[in-house]
Every structure is written in C-alpha cells, then in structure tokens.
C-alpha cells in the first residue's frame, strides 16, 4: 500500500518547540485523513533543528466511495418542495430519483447520491498545504519579499523546501503537488548544513532516512538523545567521572544538533570554589553543557559539550572555544559570588532590606517589603502552633528573601534560596536561620522533601499562606489549567508541611485573621470570612488529590470531610482518614459498614414516608421488646460516648475501637428484629436506633460516602 513522506525543511526551529511540532504535524494530517474517511496503518513524526517530517504508511490509493440515500418529498408534493429536493440532491429531474413507499408516509422520492472517492494523492494535495497554513506554532513569523503581501505564509522560521511523495513500495512515488507561498512541493531535501549541504533526491521514508543519515542528519530526536547520553557517559567513565544527568538539558541539546558529537572540555580547578550549583547553572544556562562529578559527588573541573559537526581537527578548536567562554562565564560567576559575600559581610544589619520597598511583589499586593512584613506577622502567630523559637523565626523572615538582591541569584534565579542559605551561613547566622532561607520555599511539588526544622516549617507555612491569602484576596485564583502563581503547589506545600510535621492549626481562623491584616484588607475584593471558607475548600480539594496520589481511597476522604464539621485542621482530617482506612480493613469494620449501609437504606426509605429527621428523637428504652434491640440501644449509648470522648482527644484508633464494639449488637439486631414493626411506637423506636447508629458513625465520617 502507498505511503506518504512529508518533510518541511526550514531555518532553525527552536529546540523547545520541536517535539510538540512533530506531534502536531502528525495529529493534523492524520485527523484530516480520517475526517475524509481515509484510514492508515501507521504514522510517525520526527523533528530536527531544520526539519519536521511525517511518514504515514498503509494508505489506500483512493478515498472510499460513499453512497448516500437522501429522502425527498411525497410523490405529488408541491413543486417548490420538489425543486428544493432536486437542488439539494444534485439531480436534474425526478427521473433520476427512486420512488419508495412506507405505510405511514406513502410514496416518496429517494435520491441515491454516490460520491466517488478522490485519489488519496489529490486529497493530500489539499490537506498538506492546509496543515502548513493552520500550523499551531507558539510564535510564528513572516519573511522575505512575499511578507509585503497580506496573508503571506507564517512559519516558525522561514520555510525553505517541502518534500511530499506518495506511492507504494517498488513504484516510483508521485509528488503530492501543491505550492505554498512560492515553495513547490517536491522530492528534494538537503543534508547537514555544514557536513553535507547538497541537495538529496528522495523517494520514500526508508531511503529518506538512510540518505539523511549518510548526509549526517540523525532524524530521530530520541536517537540523538541516546547518542549524546551514551557518548557523554563513555567519555566521563574513561576519566573516572560521571555525568550529572539532566533530562531537560539533554532534550534541548538534542534539538540543537542534527549530527551530535560529544566533546569534553575542562576549566581551572580554582572555579570549583564557587558553589557547585552555581557552576552547574552557569555552564548549563549559558553554554548548554553538561557537568560531571567525581565519585565523591563533588563537581569535577570538566564539562561536556555537544557539537553539531565532526570537525576536521578532531574538535580541538571547538573545545578551546567553549573552554574560553566557560572560563569567562565562570569568572563572572566567581565575581558575583565574591561581590555578594562582600555585601553580606559589610551590611550585617541588613540595611539593604530597605531596597525591597521599591520592589513590587504584585501590583495589588504591594512591595516585597510589605510582603516580608506580612510573612513576619503570620510567622509569629504560627510559632504558637509549630513551637518554633520566635526570635529565630523573626530573623529568618528578615533575611529569607534577601538573596533576591544578590548578583548570583539575579543571574541564575534557579539557585534562589540555596544562595541565601550559603550567604547566611558565611555571615555566621544560626544554622536554622540559614536553612530557612532555602527551606522556606519547600516543598516545591509533590515529590520534594518537606522541611522538618521548626524555623523552616514556620517560615515556609507563613510564606505560602501569605501567597494564598493574598491572591485569594485579590481574586486571582487558579482556574482550569491556569495557575500562573503556582497556588495549587503552594496549597499542597501547606498541607504537606502540616501533615508531615504534625502541626495542629485551625486554618480558617488563621486565614481570616491574616486576610484582615491592613495590607490585604485594603487589597481585598472579598470578605475575610468568604476568603477563609473558599480557601479551606481549596485546601480540601488539594488534600483529596494528594491523598489519592498517595494511594488513599478518595471515598474515605470524602467520607471524613462529610462529617458535617469544618475540618479546618488538616492534620486531623488525614489522621481520621488513616484510622478509618485501617478500621475498614478489619472484619469489625467491614461488618459495621455493611450494617450501616443496611440501616441507612432502611432509614432512607422510611424517611421518605415520615419525613427527614423523623427518627432523630431519643429512643425510649421502655418501648423496646427484643433483647437484641435493648442490647443495641445500650451499645449505641456506650459507643457513642466512648467515640466522642476519644474524638475529643483526637484518639482516632480508640474511636474506631469504640465503634467496633457496635458490630456484634448491630448484626444481632438485624438478625432478630423486624425494623418496620406494626406497632408505630416500636417502629419509630427501632428506626430511632438506626438513626442513632448513623449519628454515632458520622462523628467519625459519613459512612454513606464509603464505597463497597
């Protein structure tokens, strides 16, 4: 069966866009084919810095024929209706229509419309240029003389040539004929820009790939990545070193070369005085080179670059050039590092904090200075629940953002926090204050570590809560996929800090109080109470996501949150979920749940008759007859009290044990007793006990939300 080879050859495509572009190309062309009724066996798209390529195999030579019946008007219908029918069906006269009949409608006209499938080649000649015109580049441009014409082609960078061939194996493929902005489709592409720039005539994907390879182009980005990875590892290994893996950089570098050649360079040992993270950031961000480490984990004075050519001198010139640039960059980094340390040494009072008055944090939320002061107030409050030392926390708040003023962080934002810690350490500040500079940003995402030092925990909570309350106050909440201020991450951070450090805090109160602080109250568009309630439900949502990701049953989370309380102490929510989960794994738990479900079903049915809340009245023991029901009433009263006592002490295991004691009486009750007794008083009392069971369990969770 025929196959399509489609290549769009252009000037250099940004590395970060290549993978998505290949996927878009495949999606757009195959969707258009499927929409036209054309199926195919397989498709794959590729990208290099200079080309996007799509191959689709197992295509039919023709689009399938389509036969469609179109019902028309009754025989004898007014002429206008008949004319309309003829026109819409494309018939010349009623002679071309069939007459059919059915019992309801009588005789009516039917047109048989047969559409011959078009040759796939012709179809592609429409689809391919349409795909090019509609291509969703994140940013596109015009170029050349044609750019003076309105509606001229836009592409990510100038498009230079198009290959579009179609044909079966063994045949001479045909060119899918089209022209777009003066570029005619053909069967000619070009090799590597420097190593083999000549034109190459291709037939189909198979010879295309091998001819490209011969012309020093590795088409597949994943193969380029493998080559780089393997060569980098080999060269490092030969020196007794190890590459510091960096998937993001690898992906980018593979998008910068068509013919990867890995070379190793070195720099002066003296630069290793600069913190390793800064060395790495310098070499990575500016030079897109990998760094390597020694067996003890510290950085070696080597780097790995990926060049795009096999140089005739074996790469010596390229290595020398890169070494010079890296030396200059590292000199800058060292200069920044030295300058920053001087600043920290010369201003031990942190007078430079004043500069934050002129740094806007957010237009509506004031300056960085304002923000630090808000964090300070909040952190002070939080000390009460974290048990952190107030003085240390206060000092940590003072300097936690100070590294934003440093040269190193100005140059490499990714080492923010880390540098604060380093400078604070050098300045001789207490270890936990220094650590807080770095750790108060944590955890960043679900897999990052959570700080445990009380000072860090306190400042981290204050930092994130201020962010959340602030953006809630000005109504900049995340919506759908948009979360520009990473508020979901901040909320998850708060939850993890609380849960993993066992912090007991009533979030609503804290949030409401913080929202009423002058800076935020002024900015706020919502009432403090509104912010607190809304933010709490945001926390609950994030908590559900987190617990689910951790493998907890999310029905248990719903059940626990459904206990009718505010649940603004997230630690307790998590503990209850855990306890409930454990309980439900026991026989008592499973059986009690079954009993609960049975009780709830009966109640639901009977409440429909008697009305909501009809059975909530206290049960009079005197009404009861059967020993089993008397026993249950007794058990309910004991368990209810025991559970609520345990809950008041947050002893969830004990609460579950108390409830476990209900299992046997509940089972016995259902065995011995007919709930819907004829005597209305007895019925009401029995239903009243079921309602009591529901109340007792609800103290822990809404069991009706539990699956199974």
């Amino acid at each position: 069966m025929p196959e399509l080879l489609f290549e769009l050859f252009s000037e250099e495509i940004p590395a970060r866009m290549q993978r998505q572009a290949a996927a878009d190309l495949q999606r757009m062309v195959t969707n258009a084919l499927v929409d036209a009724g054309v199926t195919y066996e397989g498709a794959k798209a590729y990208a290099t810095p200079r080309r996007l390529c799509l191959t689709i195999h197992g295509l039919p030579a023709h689009q399938p024929d389509v036969r469609e019946e179109k019902k028309g008007p009754r025989v004898g219908a007014p002429d206008a209706a008949v004319q309309g029918f003829l026109k819409s069906a494309g018939l010349n006269s009623l002679d071309e229509a069939k007459i059919e009949s059915d019992p309801k409608k009588g005789e009516f006209y039917v047109a048989i419309i047969e559409k011959k499938g078009r040759p796939t080649l012709e179809l592609l000649a429409d689809i391919l240029p349409a795909t090019i015109r509609a291509f969703p580049w994140p940013k596109s441009m015009r170029w050349g003389p044609q750019s003076a014409t309105p509606g001229s082609l836009r592409w990510v960078r100038p498009l230079r040539a198009i290959v579009a061939t179609f044909g079966a194996e063994g045949d001479e493929p045909e060119i899918v004929p089209f022209e777009i902005d003066g570029i005619k489709s053909g069967n000619v592409t070009y090799g590597h820009r420097f190593l083999a720039p000549a034109a190459i005539t291709v037939k189909r994907f198979e010879d295309y790939v091998s001819k490209l390879e011969a012309a020093k182009v590795v088409l597949d980005a994943d193969r380029r990545k493998e080559i780089i990875k393997a060569d980098a590892a080999t060269q490092s290994f030969a020196q007794g070193l190890e590459v510091v893996e960096d998937e993001g950089l690898l992906e980018e570098v593979a998008g910068l070369v068509e013919w990867p050649v890995v070379l190793m360079g070195s720099f002066e040992e003296a630069f290793l005085d600069v913190p390793g993270e800064v060395v790495r950031a310098t070499i990575r961000a500016n030079q897109k080179c990998f760094v390597v480490r020694k067996s003890d984990g510290s950085l070696a004075n080597r780097f790995l670059l990926t060049s795009n050519i096999e140089a005739t001198d074996g790469g010596t010139t390229i290595i020398n050039g890169n070494e010079r640039v890296i030396r200059a960059r590292l000199s800058d980094a060292k200069f920044f590092w030295d300058t920053d340390r001087k600043v920290w040494a010369n201003d031990p009072e942190f007078k430079r904090l004043e500069k934050f008055r002129n740094v806007t944090f957010h237009e509506k939320l004031g300056s960085q200075w304002d923000r630090i002061e808000r964090i300070r107030a909040l952190a002070k409050e939080l000390c009460k629940v974290t048990g952190a030392d107030e003085k240390l926390v206060n000092d940590a708040v003072t300097i936690c953002k100070l590294d934003l003023q440093t040269e190193v962080v100005g140059e490499f934002p990714e080492v923010q926090g880390l540098m604060g810690r380093k400078y604070a350490t050098i300045a001789g500040l207490p270890a936990s204050v220094a650590a807080a500079c770095e750790e108060h940003y944590k955890p960043i995402g679900p897999t990052d570590t959570v700080p445990t030092d009380k000072v860090s925990v306190t400042v981290a909570l204050a930092d994130k809560l201020d962010t959340l309350v602030g953006f809630w106050a000005i109504d900049e909440k995340p919506t759908g996929s948009k979360d520009p201020y990473a508020l979901r991450r901040a909320a998850l951070g708060v939850i993890r800090l609380i849960v993993e450090n066992g912090v007991r805090v009533s979030l609503s109160e804290l949030v409401a109080r913080h929202a009423s602080c002058p800076g935020l109250a002024r900015a706020s568009t919502t009432s403090d109470g509104g912010i607190a309630a809304d933010l709490l439900s945001f926390f609950h949502d994030r908590l559900k996501v987190m617990l689910r990701d951790n493998g907890a049953r999310h029905d248990l989370v719903d059940a626990v949150l459904g206990n009718g309380e505010m649940n603004d102490d997230l630690l307790l929510v998590v503990r209850r979920v855990e306890a409930l989960g454990k309980f439900l794994e026991t026989d008592d738990g499973k059986s009690l749940l079954a009993g609960y479900k049975r009780a709830a079903n009966i109640l639901r049915a009977e409440e429909k008759k008697d009305g909501e809340g009809a059975f909530e009245a206290k049960v009079e023991p005197a009404v009861l007859v059967e020993p089993a029901e008397k026993a249950l009433l007794e058990a309910l009263s004991i368990a209810g009290e025991a559970a609520s006592l345990a809950l008041s002490k947050q002893d969830y295991a004990a609460a579950m044990t108390a409830m476990a004691a209900l299992r046997a009486p509940v089972d016995a009750f259902f065995e011995a007793v007919l709930v819907n007794a004829e005597d209305p008083a007895l019925r009401k009392a029995r239903l009243g006990m079921l309602a009591a069971l529901r109340r007792v369990t609800r103290q822990v969770a809404d069991f009706s939300k539990i699956a199974g």
């Binding site: 940004p14 441009m141 050349g144 200059a328």
Partner: protein, 310 residues
C-alpha cells in the same frame, strides 16, 4: 622614527580590531549594501540608528551596513571587567526584504572573517528579540560559534509600532567579543587594534580604557540627574512638537528624522538615569513606555515620508 607600514597581514580580521571592521565592511559592500558611518548620537544599540529603525519600515528595498558605537551606561565596570564595557561597537547589517539566502550570506561573512565551519561549531540558537523602548520585535537566533554568541540574527516583524512589510533581516555582530575570539584574547582591553606589533601596536585598552574609567564614574556617580530629568522631558516635548509641526494631514510628513533624534536623546537620558539608580522599578516601566510612545509616533510619521514609501 620610521613610519610603520600596515600590511594586508596586519589588517587581517584575526589580527586587528580595525581589520575585522574593514573586512566586514568590504564583505557587505560587495553584497550590495550601502556602507554607512555611525550615527552621530549616543544610542544603546545599532538598531537605534535611523538606518535601521526607520528604514526597516515601508516597502522600499534597503540594504545597509555600518558600525555603530553603542552606549549602555549601566554596563560600565570602571575598566575592570575584561568583557563588559559601557561603550562598545556593533556591526549592523540590515537587508530589506530579507533575502532567501540570508543565512548563507551570514555564514559566508563568518568565513570572510576567518571562521572556518569545518573546524568551528556554528549554531543558530533560538532568540526572540524584543525592544520595549523601540516598540519592536522579531524572531531569530543568537548565532553561536563554539559556544560563544557572536551575532544576533533577527527577522523584524514590527518596528516602532509598525508592522514590517516586507520583513527586514537584521544581523548584529558584537565586534569586541568577535575580535577577542578571532585574536584568541581573553581580555577585551588586550585586543590588538591596529594589527601592528612591538611599539607600533595599539591595543583596545590604549584607545578605550581611560574612557571606560571616566564614563563609568560619570554614569554611576557624576552625571547630573536633575539635568538628565530635564533633558528627558525636553526631548520628549520637542519630539512631539516636531512631529506635530511636520504633520501635513494630506501629503508627506516633514519632520521625522529630527523628531526621531529627540527620541534617541530621551532614550539615552533614561539609560543614564537608570544607571544612576534614581529611577524606581515602577517608574522604570513608565519611562520605557514614554520612549516607546515617541518611537511609535516617529514610526507612524516615517511611513508618511518619501523614504517610508509614501
């Protein structure tokens, strides 16, 4: 004293700074560019030269190349940093419309100055260019040679608030950095300026170190900020006044180039004020916007002139 004789060797682009400039000029002259001289005002980059900013607009063909001394007051380092100067040179090429072989022309120019692509790794790395003060943007690349950025390559999409129609291609070579690379020097001040040796040799530092020191002091310490604020306001006012005076509702605009000079003046005053640290972050944005408004007004007026295609 004997008169030193410059040889073709001493004017090789790999031997002297001036040799590099001359080679690029000759190269682009041979490709049909008009070789202009630097604009006689303080500008932050070669793009500010009206031969780029204004000539990039309108339908007319325009191919030009020139050296432009560029001033970035904030980059002053008192002559202590070997890589960063508050005054440096750019070699600027503008080709409108951008020719189909513009990348090949660029690579040929690299060959001409001694960068052999058989041994050097030349790369086009994504770089979206934007000049907030000029109301301009374009797409293109940083051009790397062995990991060093040696040029910027931009397809102008919009300049001075006007859509480019047709699009011009702009090449900017950072001359000091390129020369350092070609001469194999790590310190910009040690660049051989005239290609001679011994006592006849003149270095970049001989020519510019004192200027770097003095201007750094000026930019950071001595520049009269009150005067600069006044300069900014006056230039802004005059720019607007000239644009208003030269505007003939029907027919051509008569005062664009003089008005644009005032826009350049405002921009430089702003750069100095910024270096002096007297403009706060919030104010900064509003100053940039004010310069942009001037640039955009000049762009709108330019397309009503003869050279602008009216």
């Amino acid at each position: 004293m004997t008169q030193p004789v410059p040889t073709s060797n001493s004017l090789s682009p790999t031997r002297s700074f001036q040799g590099l400039i001359l080679t690029l000029q000759n190269f682009w002259a041979a490709k049909g560019c008009v070789i202009l001289q630097p604009y006689d005002m303080e500008v932050g980059a070669g793009t500010f030269h009206p031969a780029t900013t204004l000539r990039a607009l309108g339908p007319k063909r325009w191919n030009a190349a020139y050296v432009q001394p560029s001033r970035r007051p904030k980059d002053g380092r008192y002559g202590e940093n070997p890589n960063r100067f508050q005054h440096y040179y750019q070699f600027q090429v503008i080709l409108k419309p951008s020719p189909v072989n513009i990348q090949e022309l660029y690579l040929e120019s690299l060959e001409a100055i001694g960068i052999d692509t058989k041994v050097h790794d030349v790369r086009f790395v994504e770089d979206d260019w934007e000049s907030p003060t000029l109301g301009a943007w374009g797409l293109g690349w940083e051009c790397w040679c062995d990991g060093m950025e040696v040029s910027q390559f931009t397809y102008f999409q919009q300049v001075a608030g006007q859509e480019c129609s047709p699009v011009a291609g702009e090449l900017t070579y950072g001359l000091e950095r390129l020369a350092m690379y070609l001469q194999g020097v790590d310190n910009g001040f040690e660049l051989n300026f005239n290609g001679l040796e011994g006592e006849d040799k003149v270095t970049y530092g001989d020519v510019f170190r004192q200027a770097e020191e003095e201007y750094s002091r000026h930019n950071f310490e001595y520049a009269d900020t009150d005067k600069l604020f006044r300069n900014f306001a006056e230039a802004e006012k005059e720019c607007k006044a000239l644009l208003a005076a030269g505007d003939r509702e029907e027919g051509r605009h008569l005062q664009v180039l003089p008005a644009y000079d005032q826009c350049i003046k405002a921009s430089h005053a702003f750069n100095l004020l910024d270096a002096r640290g007297v403009i706060s972050v919030t104010e900064r944005q509003s100053y940039i916007l004010r310069v942009r408004e001037l640039a955009k007004a000049c762009g709108a007026a330019w397309v009503k002139t003869e050279a602008g295609g009216a």
